[in-house]
Amino acid sequence: MDQNANFQELILIIDDEVQIRRLLEITLSSEGYKITEAATGKEGLVAAATHNPSLIILDLGLPDVDGSELLKKLREWFHKPIIILSVRNLEADIIEALDNGADDFLAKPFRTGELLARVRSALRKRQVASEIPFLTFGSLTIDLPNHIARKNGEIIKLTSTEFSLLALLAQNSGRVLTHQSILKEIWGFGYIGQTQYLRVFVAQLRKKIEDDPSKPKLLLTESGIGYRFQE
């Protein structure tokens, strides 16, 4: 990655643990990001308003305010990506944060490579205008306006629901989508909770787009949370 490409990007880290902040700072600045830090929720809120960062990495376990409350407050006006960082790897917390407007999550302990990938995709998502009609993932290309997906140049036969699902995931590639948000988006409000639909279509989609459906490389499962389309 070209360091200059990230030159303007300012990332706000809100975490009370000095060591974690230090680690994030080293890792991210080595990739060319500018960093600003906050140790408490209040400081974080002020810093977000002052510096208007391109992305916020927010720890859910803060000493002064509840992280999910802070998230809601931030989301009232802050529309750029927020990545949740949490030692709580309980699915319920993560799902709640995602439903409250977080873009992605990382459970501590995490691999730095993973962190960077999440940050990159979150930032790029913002850059990529949704109008871009063609998406390419390795041998898979998706022609959004024409509702056509190709693998190795050959058209894949997809039902309209399958295509909608693929398009939704692909447009949010690199980012986790919760089960419920996908159900809501593709099937509508009445289908929230009906995860069996999702399972069936994900399995079908995998058979059609993956090289080896038993070792998915594109459509990945986030245990208990949702799916992520790999970039």
Binding site: T159, T195, Q196, R199, K215, T221, S223, G224
Partner: protein, 889 residues
């Protein structure tokens, strides 16, 4: 003679040991006993107390009544006096002994004057002897004073001698079980002399007293009574001693007395007399009440209750027996209990019927009692007269309109047959009337039936038997028939109504048995204290029509008042203190009892075999009858029993958890400290090396790898510990959601990519594998642990196999390796916490498999392990699950 003949009865021995043991825990009671007021009991008591004080014993005055006698007043000085408690009763201020202050002060000996005193209303106990009992129970010795006339069994006789009714009495049991009795004796002349000198009362009152109570004849009689009582006591003690020490002597015992009690006032006297007799004879005494078909009216019920209470106060064991044949019931019981003497009262004879009945009763009793002696106590004029006013012919308790209805029906029947008499003849009419009387007997009491029988006989005679319209009967066969008619009608009616009453009693009994059975059944299936409480509450309201509230003990053996969530019965602070008292003393208290009767609720203790469980408060509308009380006690003892089992089970569980957590803690400490130290040492060493030395890139890389590995190992440990603690706390509830098994296994395989690298992993899933409902996260962890273990222990082998299929409602997951497998004796142990296979390599805490087991069990599933035929281990998980039936396209 054979030595065995002197052997004391083991039961008796046990009883006396138990009594001694109980006594040693309790305080000792010393009674200064006299024939009447003025003999110097209080004076002697204080003298004795001074002597004790001189021996450095801690002795205080709880309550003293000096009657302003100069000598006595002087003796009080030098003692600590516990201030009396003042409290408001209605408009007056009253003073009573401060029971709680005495118990709190806890001296060695407390002086409490006038044992027979009746406390002012609003005190905890209605009688002072109850206060004294409580003091004794708390381990404090008591000195007290008592006059002979206050003994329950003597009060009657004293009343007879002196003509003064004694209201303040104490149960004989207190006197009998007192540890020491000191009799204060004075000759009547000396006493009168003292009175004359004004040493007892003021001159004025003395004269009055001498005229009324303190006549020389009276005093002599009272003196004799007091001295005899004490002599008897000495005698009894000697006897007890001989019995205990197997001294052969003139045994008086072997005497077992039985007194038959009825619902009459006379029985009260009978009880006292029997008590005296048994005391003098040195035999034990029981009482029996026979419940017959006879229906008690409310006054008789009251008297019966009084008699029962009296028996209890006198320390007589009273048995209730139901039998329509009174003689048979008494004799049967007597034979069973080896009774040697039966005591009965001579019933009042008012008329011929009663006389017949009495002689019949006595004859039968004499005939059947065999070698058992009979004592028949004469009736007493005074009580008889009092009683006469209370008399009502109990059989005729039926309401007035019942008489009207029966008469009306007889007349109608007669009228109908009168019209038919030309066709069917007059004789048949008798059968018709008889038939009607028999039918009526099913619906009406004895009185109306007697009336119906008489009426129908007269109607038949007057209107039907020729010559009609006269009572005269011409033909002798008609006369015979008329007499037979009357007798049959009567018998019919009486027998039927008796059967009816008997039936009713049986039904009540049946209902009670049934209720108890229901309760037992419901309780047997109940789990947890909460459920037991709700069953208890429901059944009490169902069978007793009472609102109730149960207060339970807490861990520190106090009543727990915190559960104030009950809307039905709200207990005030005062009520709660009564509840506490009930709990501590395991005796009932509150309304309709001797203790704190001013309270609105009645409190019964819930007693278990090993501990007191709590208290049940009920709002009693009326006092229980004897039968109801027994039923109630049986009922709450069932509840207590169940509650105790629940409590004990909880305690056992807690104890188990405690030892478990202790064990866990120790193992954890040993295992974790090692497991933590290794990766930490690696990280420290490697990073230190990176910091201090400039290594070539390859070495740097290798060191970083080591750090990374060590931190992964640490992370795994932490994950395991967190999962274990989640399991331990029981907070695991699987969030079931539809799951594609392919997805699950692929995910686990992906996470373990590095570890699986040296193996060939075969995933076997049938094509028609349905979606199942499981908790993805938990099962991922389970599979992860199993597969990770396989990669660690089957290292060097090639193939690993994960198999999944659905069969008959169960999801089966299998993980198979070709490693060394397990030793046969290890197979049952490997799911245990911290269990590690012998000789297993370093790294690992022995938690992985127990976590897997816990998570599978959270799914209500099972996990098993076996060795494979050609080597290796096979883990099989079976989880009950629903599958996706609907077609989705």
């Amino acid at each position: 003679m054979d030595n065995n003949d002197f052997r004391p009865d083991p039961d008796e021995l046990l009883a006396s040991l138990k009594l001694e043991e109980e006594k040693s825990k309790r305080g000792k009671l010393k009674i200064f006993f006299g024939m009447c007021a003025g003999v110097g009991k209080t004076y002697t008591m204080l003298k004795t107390a001074h002597a004790e004080k001189a021996k450095n014993n801690d002795i205080v005055i709880g309550y003293i009544e000096t009657h302003n006698r100069k000598e006595t007043n002087e003796l009080v000085e030098g003692f600590e006096v516990i201030p009396r408690k003042n409290f408001q009763y209605k408009t007056a201020m009253v003073q009573e002994m401060d029971l709680d202050a005495i118990i709190a002060r806890k001296p060695q000996i407390v002086i409490v004057d006038e044992l027979a005193h009746t406390n002012a209303p609003g005190s905890r106990h209605s009688k002072r002897f109850q206060d004294v009992r409580e003091i004794l129970d708390s381990g404090i010795n008591v000195y007290t004073t008592l006059n002979v006339q206050h003994l329950e069994s003597r009060s009657d006789t004293v009343s007879q001698i002196t003509g003064i009714i004694i209201r303040e009495t104490i149960p004989d049991e207190i006197f009998e079980t007192a540890d020491e009795i000191e009799v204060i004796d004075l000759t009547p002349d000396e006493l009168l002399q003292r009175m004359a000198e004004g040493k007892v009362y003021t001159q004025e009152r003395s004269k009055e007293a001498v005229a009324n109570f303190f006549r020389k004849g009276n005093i002599t009689a009272l003196r004799e009574m007091a001295l005899r009582l004490v002599a008897d006591r000495v005698d009894k003690q000697l006897h007890d001693y001989m019995q205990l020490k197997r001294i052969k002597g003139p045994w008086k015992s072997g005497l077992h007395l039985l007194v038959a009690v009825s619902h009459t006032q006379q029985s009260a006297r009978l009880l006292r007399w029997a008590k005296n007799l048994s005391y003098t004879m040195g035999g034990d005494l029981q009482a029996i009440y026979v419940e017959t078909a006879y229906k008690l009216n409310s006054r008789e019920k009251d008297q019966l209750n009084k008699n029962v209470t009296l028996a209890r106060q006198l320390g007589i064991k009273l048995r209730f027996v139901t039998n329509s044949d009174m003689v048979k019931a008494i004799v049967d019981f007597a034979q069973k209990e080896n009774i040697t003497h039966i005591i009965i009262g001579k019933p009042r004879v008012r008329n011929l019927v009663n006389l017949l009945r009495l002689s019949n009763f006595l004859n039968k009793l004499i005939r059947y009692s065999g070698n058992i002696d009979l004592y028949i106590l004469g009736s007493d004029i005074q009580t008889r007269e009092k009683f006469k006013k209370n008399i009502s012919f109990p059989s005729f308790t039926s309401k007035f309109h019942q008489y009207l209805v029966t008469s009306f029906i007889i007349i109608i029947t007669a009228l109908i047959f009168f019209l038919l008499t030309d066709y069917i003849g007059y004789q048949v009419v008798s059968f018709a009337l008889l038939f009607v009387v028999s039918i009526l007997a099913f619906f009406f009491g004895r009185g109306p039936i007697l009336l119906a029988a008489t009426l129908s006989a007269m109607i038949w005679d007057y209107f039907f038997i020729p010559p009609p319209y006269t009572l005269h009967v011409d033909r002798p066969e008609d006369m015979l028939m008329l007499i037979m008619f009357f007798i049959i009608a009567l018998l019919n009616g009486v027998l039927t109504s008796r059967i009816k009453i008997q039936e009713m009693k049986i039904r009540v009994r049946e209902e009670r048995t049934n209720a108890l059975y229901q309760l037992t059944k419901e309780l047997s299936t109940a789990t947890g204290v909460e459920e037991v409480l709700s069953i208890a509450k429901n059944d009490i309201s169902k069978y007793f029509k009472l609102r109730s509230r149960i207060l339970l003990r807490n861990e520190s053996n106090q009543l727990d008042f915190s559960s104030q969530n009950d809307k039905e019965i709200h207990l005030s602070g005062n009520d709660l203190s009564v509840a506490s008292w009930t709990f501590q003393h395991s005796a009932k208290a509150g309304k309709n009892t001797d203790t704190l009767p001013s309270c609105n609720f009645t409190f019964y203790p819930l007693k278990g075999n090993q501990m007191n469980l709590g208290v049940i408060a009920v709002q009693q509308v009326k006092i229980f009858t004897q039968g109801e009380e027994q039923f109630w006690e049986a009922f709450i003892s069932q509840i207590s029993g169940k509650l105790e089992r629940e409590f004990l089970r909880n305690m056992a569980r807690q104890a188990f958890l405690l030892t478990e957590s202790d064990k866990l803690y120790k193992t954890l400490f040993n295992s974790i400290s090692h497991e933590l130290r290794i990766p930490v040492a690696t990280i420290m060493g490697a990073s230190d090396s990176l910091l201090s030395t400039h290594h070539p890139f390859e070495v740097q890389n290798e060191l970083s790898q080591e750090i990374f590995k060590a931190s992964k190992r640490l992370n795994r440990l932490i994950e395991n510990l967190l999962n274990m603690s989640r399991l331990e706390s029981g907070r695991i509830t699987p969030l079931l959601d539809w799951c594609d098994i392919h997805d699950l296994i692929n995910k686990v395989a992906e996470n373990l990519r590095d570890e699986l690298a040296p193996f060939n992993l075969h995933i076997v899933i049938p094509d028609d594998m349905p979606f199942v409902k499981i908790d993805f996260g938990l099962m991922e962890q389970v599979l992860h642990n199993l597969l990770y273990n396989a990669t660690q222990y089957a290292l060097g082998s090639e193939n690993l196999r994960v198999k999944a299929f659905f069969d008959n409602g169960f999801l089966t997951l299998q993980v198979m390796d070709r490693g060394p497998g397990f030793q046969r004796n290890e197979l049952p142990l490997i799911f245990n916490k911290f269990y590690r296979v012998e000789g297993s390599k370093a790294g690992g805490t022995g938690l992985g498999l127990s976590i897997a087991k816990g998570f599978v069990e959270a799914h209500k599933g099972t996990i098993a392990v076996e060795n494979r035929q050609n080597g290796g281990a096979k883990f099989t998980i079976k989880i009950p699950t629903e599958i996706l039936q609907e077609e989705i396209n």
